[in-house]
Every structure is written in C-alpha cells, then in structure tokens.
Amino acid sequence: MSTKLLSMRDAIARYVFDGASVAIEGFTAFICFAAGHEIIRQRKRDLTLIRMTPDVIYDQMVAAGVARKLVFSYLGNPGVGSLHCIRRAIEQGIPRPLEIEEYSHFGMIGRYVAGAARLPFYPLHSYTGSDLPKVNPHIRFVQSPYGEEKVAVVPPLNPDVTIVHAQRADIAGNTQLWGLLGVQKEAAFAARQVIVVVEEIVDEAAIRSDPNRTLIPGLIVNAVVHEPFGAHPSYVQGYYDRDNPFYLKWDEISRDGQRVSDWLDEWVYGVADRAEYARKLGAATLQRLKPGEAWSQPVNYGAYR
C-alpha cells in the first residue's frame, strides 16, 4: 500500500489552484479550519467556495480575499447569528464583490449526489412556491414520464477539490467517520480531487475490522493529511467538542473589518501551521473541549475460513 500522506502545506499547494472550485464540507462537525487557514496563508485567489453552510471558516476565507464566488444553502453562524464578513462582501462588496449561487439544503445535497453518481440532474420535491428558482436559473423542473407530476431538479456539482475531515484513515486514504456524516461521502465522490484530513492515522487492520464504517475509500483519495485539532473551533465526534465560546466571540470580532484583519494576522498568518495554532490555543482550551468517553459496543463480523 503506497502512502498518500502529505503535510497540509503540500496538499493545499498541490491540489488547490487559483480559480479552483473548492468544497470544505462538514455539517457543524468536521469542518476543516486547518485547510481553510492554509488556503488563506498560501494566498490562493478567485476560488469558488462551496459548502451547504459556509460557517465561520468561509467567513474568514471571504474576509481574507480568497473567494470570487460562493455556492451554498445556509448563510449563518449556527446557533449565533450572521456571518458578518460574508454579509459585508454581499451587501457592500468588501473586500471584493462576491458572486453567490444559492440552493436549499436538499438542493445542495442533491447536487453532490448527482455529481458523485455522474447523473445529469437530481430530482427532488422542493422549490414549488419558492422564489429561489427565480434567482437561480440552475434550479429547474421536469415532468415525470409516469404522470402529470412535476418535480424540481438541480444539476450535478463536481468540485475541483473536496476537503473532508474525519476521525481516522490509513495511509492509503481509506477513511472512517462517525457522528454527523453530513455530505462528506457525497462531496468526496463528487470531487475531481480529494484531500482527507484526519485526527489519527491508523493501521489498515483497524479499517478492515469494521468495513461498514468506511465511508470514503482510498480509491478516490489523493492526499491524506494528519492534522490533530484540524477542525477547531468546529469539532470531531469523540475527539473534541465544538468551541461554542469561539463561535460567539467571532460574532463580535467579525462585525469589525479591522478586528478581523487583526485576528487573521494573529491566528492564521501569524502561525506556521496547525500544530502551532494548537499550541497557541493552549492546553487549558484543549482540555476544556475534551469529551468524556462513550464507546460503541463492538460487533462481530465473524471469521469465515
């Protein structure tokens, strides 16, 4: 088994090019801030950023000027309020105008599914009576060939790069995650290139002990990055908690462009990599975010010889 291990720096340098469409997925959980920060540090430009919920990571990336366009379905700081940097970009063109392409959650999910399954469209019951199709010409309707019924469709989405965070993978990129699965699998299969970022690198034997837990096979993975705490202030089920105080604090910081700049200087440009970021966060914070234990009951797959 040949290794796909790369540093985050090398993975981003190799696979995220200026003008690329990039999906960093993860629904509240598993959001790879480490990858987003490295993209900012490498001053990538003109990216199309794709995410169901842009969240604080895309707020930071938009503020840093890496994005030309945003494809999304929910533009909020979850449980807190607005994403002020993205709002400034949309409402005032600061730091630069931001093109948007907007769906509902199910529409975004469907786009990834169609992209992963090489389908020309994904049908869903949505958008009837909504103004969304009026502002997004990609949302269309088709007639069922079995009756009068019409159904909405969305086109496939194939990001140039999808970045997925998870608990563990082997060096070939066979990746297991548990907790909120979100659209991690679909976004990975839909992508032209896949970077997997994990808390732990494990032996192939660990993967093979529970094959139903493998959502993303090494087959579709280009790079594996070992990056503990790579999702902070988002979280990784069983590894660390969501840093809710940070999400609340970002609501304040992000209202002021200067404070955002200062924050980026200190926490992104000012650190070399995620390891330095984690040291800077400090042991007390990491300790505060450490959950108790709640182990799955193991299951017997049986040895068949």
Binding site: T28, M52, S73, P78, S104, H125, D131, K150, L180, L181
Partner: protein, 258 residues
Amino acid sequence: MNAQATSFTASEMMIVTAARALAGAHTVFVGVGLPNIACNLARRTVVPDLELIYEAGAYGASPARLPLSIGDPALVSGSIAVMSQADLFSFYLQGGRVEVGFLGGAQIDRYGNLNTTVISDYTTPSVRLPGSGGACEIAIHAQRLLYIMRLSKRAFVERLDFTTSPGYLSGGDARRRLNMPGGGPHRVITDKALFDFETPTREMRLASLYPGVSVEEVLAHIGWPIARAETLQVNEPPTDEELRCIREELDPLGLYRL
C-alpha cells in the same frame, strides 16, 4: 394543569405554548433556539415519546445538554440513529416521516409564506439573511408546520420581500394544486398571541391571546388587517412545573429568558 403562581417572560410563554402545540405528535423536526427548548419541554410534559429529528442527521436524539447549534455533538451521542443528510432529507423528510416542522423567519405573510433570504432586493439586499437551509423542504413536506416568531410590523408584512419557503401560497387549495405533500402552516406562536389558519381561504387568524394581552396590542404589530376567531380564548399561563423545567433543566443560564 396546576395553577399559575409565578411571573413569567414572553419567551417563556412562547416556549410553553409551542410545547403544548406538540401534544399528540410523534416526530418533530427541531430547529435551534426556542423550538429546541420547546421540543425538549414537550418531552418532559405533554409528549414523553416525542422523537426529535435534527436536520444535521440525528433521529431520536437525547441530548444531555441544551445544544447551541443543531449540529451539536450532544445530539449524536446516545441518539437512536445518525445518518447522512442525503438519507435524512430523502427518506425521513421527503419520505413523509416528519409530522411537525418548526420554522421561523424575518418575514411572514397572511398565508404563512416565509422569508429568510433577503430584506429589500435579492441582488442588492439591504440585509442578507441566512437563506433557506432546510426550511423550504420542511415547509413543503412536514405534515404540519409550527412557526415561532415575535410579533412586529417588520415581520408580519403585507408582502414578503422574497418567498423562501411556501406556506399556503395564495391561499385556499393552492398547495394541493401544486402537489405539495405536507399539510402546511398549522399555528403561529408569537410572544403575544397564537394564530391559526382554520379557514377555507387559509388566511392567518388570531386564535387566542396570552394572559394580559389585548387585541389592540396584537393588531398594532401586524401589517395587514388580520381576521380573528369568533371567540378569542386566552391561553393558559405556564404552570410551575413548566417554568421549573425551563429554568432549572433546559435553560439554566437564562439565554432564552428574554
């Protein structure tokens, strides 16, 4: 219900009213904030068997703490099933397995249509709101919809700036004509009164008042001449037990006391 003894806030009255509206329900699609507290209160009072479904992909969640976001890790550990969002939206929501959906928004009109997208124009908005998320699908598929919104003339408007999620559209049987499987808006729970849509035109209607609130106080916050039920009931105030649950168990920090 036992007698009301304590004073309470408008938010607490909203939470209690929302929880009571869940009586008899089996499954509810939970939003964060007030709906989240209301659903958890309902489980402790009127519907112990109520199963909570979160759009993040958790079914039968049993959170040990009140989650800040609908993707909180506490919704995962100890829940009955956690699945991909493709499965959640396809098989649970679109599959017709969700009974009650909770929604809220920046603007609502007389037919329960909802705006969570922009204030003013879409391409040059004065305020860019979060957008649909799963709201458009919840509005179409849930067997019945409960809205939770504070009364205000900016929110209860004659005409939406943008329709994100359909209520009864232009009223009457417009939903059915468009083959929408869900039942549409059922109640609007506000900080002053409760509204229903129990008329052939499916126009929002003042159904009952909270204790101490006058009809005029309500009408002053609604941007159109709203209909009202023939006899206006007054909602029961929160019981001691409901208030104890909220204050001691669900929101000990008082984040939603206001």
